[in-house]
Amino acid sequence: MGVLTANAYLAVLVPLLASAAVGVFGRRSMQLSCWGALAGSVSVLAVGVACVLEPAGRRSVSLGWLASSSGELTIGWHADGLAAIMLVVVGVVASAVVVFSLGYMRRDPDPGRYFALIALFTASMSALVLADSLVTLFVGWELVGACSYLLIGFWYDKPSAADAARKAFIVTRVGDAGFMLGLAVLWGATGTLAIPEVLGRVAALPASTATVAALLLFAGAAGKSAQFPLHVWLPDAMEGPTPVSALIHAATMVAAGVFLVARMWPLFAASPAALQVVLVIGCVTALGAATIAVTQTDIKKVLAYSTISQLGFMFAALGSGAWVAAVFHLVTHAAFKSLLFLASGSVIHGSGTQDLRDMGGLWRKMPLTAGTWMVGVLALAGIPPLAGFFSKDAVIGAVMQRSVPAGAALVAASLLTGLYAFRATQLAFFGRWRGDVQDVAESPAVMTAPLLALAVAAAASGAAAGPVSRLLGAEAEPLSIPIAVMSVVAALIGCLIGSGVWGRDAGVENALPRWLERWWMAARSGYGIDDLYRRVVVRPVIGVAAISYVLVERVIIDGIVEGIGRATRRLGHGAAELQNGDPQRYAAWIAVGAIAAVAVTVWLGR
């Protein structure tokens, strides 16, 4: 134990070495690569658990990395309570996902690359959460992004997957540009990027600087955590293998934005204006994404928008000042959302489709998957006594205290959560089977075992409120009964509508009333935001690049260069004309020259 807490870097080093080993040696062996990756994620879990159990053994180490004019950039690790919580989350989900992948990726020809990337991701994520300086954090931050890129595009010959991977990286990088500027602002203002020192000097910052820095960091967080308006990459990211979605795009990496704000909490707390922005963005995202989730037909896209929406809950909590509640929701969400993703992976694995319209009645064929899915869905909807209830209650309670309209928006989002959760449940597991494949069967034990493990976590992690608060050095908020009643009632209404409407007729969406249909289609396409970006950002940039290449580069800049070259050559040709070999012409020039020379001499000698 003490060894682990004192050497928390093992949570980075072991998965990293595992990744290298798997990448080099695990080329074709499924088992070998899986065990390698598992060793990595278990080591993360072990360090996390050790740090949770033995808070006194925390150690932080910082090394000089790069010297600069106003001090040294350091890298290092710092295993505090927040990092411990995140390590446990990462370790649990990663372990479950690795085991699940053994079944899910069974037929993939390239297991070495897959598991090496998973292990690399785990290492990067550990580096991110253990970071003691913003430089280390940014390194981990970018590396998890790169792993996400590589894993979304795991099946790179599929154009949609390759496109989705690129989009994910670039959209998050837009946020990261803000992050980098934020680093620069903090660097300029405090002269350090070591997190404890930065936070120690926050109080002395002018309010405007704090606000600017906080907002720039939030830009990075919004990109990573898929918050409006940078949320567009996450639904597309579902092109990756489903276990990857569970690990990266549900539980860990997308929560890094929440982690960042929590980590830099004193900075955000110093700027009410920045918190206001965080709150608004969080509420808009929570509600907007929930409405979109209701209309999706792809089971993974439902979950993707659900993730965006739930992350919006967390940011709303952060914006209300309840960062402990946000981290708590992060933990429970990681449990039930990774469960849901893995369950959907099991469904996709068994039924061969991810279109909800082609499913139905799966609970009879896949009872274990259906049972665990139900746990996940109820936890997501926030039905007591499952985990989501406690954390969501804490979030809504905190937001209500801060702003009633924002709280109301979240309650409405809770209602929609119940609605889309039970719509998806009805369409996938109940009713009659609408697919083509007939021999749908339960997934093998290697896939259902992680489901069961995560189901336990999703059911029980509500009890983590106390430990989480303690680790974060705060008192657990007592459950507020009115809020709890309100949110549960809202969620139940959603659940009932969802299961009622889609339980009666799975094809109800095909015959919507006219007013609803227009809205429905708009929501299904994500309100056309993708299209808007394509028209307003992507195409103009490409167009400007193409036009300026021709106009500015070729015609003007290179035109001048080549023009000077051509002019010189033409001048030379002109001069060469004089020397055309006609001696009489030469003689004439000599005569003219002589006369000119005489004339000049005479004129000068005057």
Partner: protein
């Protein structure tokens, strides 16, 4: 004075010939005329304007112009020999016009 005028006229006449005649022989002849003009000018100027012309001490100076004129005659002879030799070889190739030798350039 008239000597100078004659010399200038001779030179100009030769120059005119060099610039306008299209046959190499004529051009060569015109060059000879120009050189003749120049030689004449040297002799006339040295005898008329040489410092101390007509004095014992100045004889040296006046004579130097004439010496240059003699040197010039030798150069003219050499030039004529070389020029005529080139001309002969050109004639062997059937080329006697100035235009024919334009490609002989550096």
């Amino acid at each position: 004075m008239s000597g100078i005028v004659v010399a200038c006229l001779l030179f100009s006449l030769g120059l005119y010939g060099v610039l306008t005649r299209r046959e190499i022989v004529a051009v060569l002849a015109s060059i000879e005329v120009m050189l003749g003009g120049a030689t004449l000018l040297l002799v006339v100027l040295s005898s008329t304007y040489g410092t101390g012309a007509g004095t014992a001490a100045g004889a040296n100076t006046a004579a130097s112009g004439q010496a240059v004129a003699l040197l010039l005659l030798a150069v003219v002879a050499a030039e004529a020999a070389v020029g005529l030799a080139v001309l002969v070889s050109l004639v062997r190739h059937g080329k006697t016009g100035v235009d024919d030798i334009q490609r002989v350039r550096g």
